[in-house]
Amino acid sequence: MSSSSETLSKTALFDEHIRLDGKMVPFAGFEMPVQYPLGALKEYQAVRDGGAGIFDISHMGQVRVTGPDALAFLQHVTTNDVSKLVDGQVHYSALLNDQGTFIDDITTYRIDKNSYYLCINAANRHKDVAHLKHHAAGFEVTVSDESDETALLALQGEKAQSLLQSLTENDLESVGYYRFAVTTVRGAKATVSRTGYTGEDGFEIYLPNSAAAAVWQALENAGAIPIGLAARDMLRTEMGYALYGHEISDAVTPVEARLMWITKLDKGDFLGRAAVEKRKGEGARLAMVALKLTGRGIPREHYKIIADGREIGEVTSGMHSPLAGAGVAIGYIEPEYIDAGELSIDIRGKAVPAERTKTPFVRSNVRK
């Protein structure tokens, strides 16, 4: 990546990362910490092994959707069934184009029947906001991009709840999985949801920029370990969670991405629905596989997946899983190989054998 630093944005926690001697890299248009001096492996372990980690994910975008047509509008532009959400509930969803392929994957928060909140990927922010505003014509809704004013911290790991509880009056025990509370954290107005991207129990905390550093420091002082992008990617890949630009893109529909569980074809019409229904009938053009290497090596993005001596697909995310004790990968292959044939991954010209497995690659500890 060759972006010069003056073109990169900074989150409200930038000074914290510098104070902590984070190794800053360009990421989705922001200068973000890839790791801190502790190192990616120990950061990963802090989250997996009974501790808690704090992550700055303020680069992500937030869009507020309000008005009497908010529900009808979101039913039209998102794939999941928004009518099933109750106040204080959040779900995973997606924005599709007319071809049924992904504009983005998102989370949708229902504050009340006329007020919703979307969390979107940083790299897709301007595209998403333009898309939402374009399709808002004809609906009585206001679409406001609040990304620049909003900081977002993730607090993940077994100790997350006890650390956060000391900073908020809201009883966190009453906030279930994929539920949220609009509350205060250390005196600042905050939205706290029991969501995350690590496979551990934990929270995501939306705050005004002005409150972010104080909350970060308070959590750090309470024992949370700062976690960079490298460990975050390890934690999410081990869970097999899809990431835009890897498993999800405008080249695949929810049929290929195994995201039909968030694509409710029976809820009524929505953008991309016809194309997804057609693809579902025709069958997936690519099959998603989860692989565990039986030989030595680390599978990485874009490595070729081999069967019958030829390339039949590509790795979209790969890593050495400390818990699985092996290289693990997610990728897309030609559909006829989904259940048949020996697969291997081409690592520097060597075909390293791999076995089909399921995600998550290691046990999930989210609170269901």
Binding site: V34, G39, A40, I298
Partner: protein, 126 residues
């Protein structure tokens, strides 16, 4: 940052310890720190003949894949097989237990390599 005085260095951050007809190669303290946590090392086959600059091993950290280049003309005697199970030794002890390969020196010319002072100056200038 450690730079032992008795070793020779390359601009690609390998070190060489020459002992008679044999030598040991590894990556420097600077290299391991820049790479971050090393999680995989791919070693060369015994007997492999190497010219200066040949990529003979691969060191992988959580995020990056890096080639290791031969500092002198040589032939592989053995790779450090301990690293297959414990790649973190490259981080913990880059000039000791984290050595990567022992070689037979084919051409002892080291005039293209840096001594510790020159390598320090090279790092300072980077």
């Amino acid at each position: 940052m450690t730079i032992p005085a008795d070793l020779k260095y390359t601009k690609d951050h390998e070190w060489v310890r020459i002992e008679g007809d044999n030598a040991t190669f590894g990556v420097t303290d600077h290299a391991q720190e820049a790479l971050g946590d090393i999680v995989f090392v791919e070693l060369p086959e015994e007997g492999r003949a190497m010219a200066i600059g040949d990529a003979f091993a691969v060191v992988e950290s959580v995020k990056a894949v890096s080639d290791v280049y031969a500092p002198i003309v040589s032939e592989v005697i053995e790779g450090n097989e301990t690293l297959e199970a414990s790649p973190e030794k490259v981080n913990e002890d880059p000039y000791g237990d984290g050595w990567i390969v022992k070689v037979k020196v084919t051409d002892g010319d080291t005039s293209h390599l840096m001594d510790a002072a020159a390598y320090q100056a090279f790092l300072d200038a980077a």
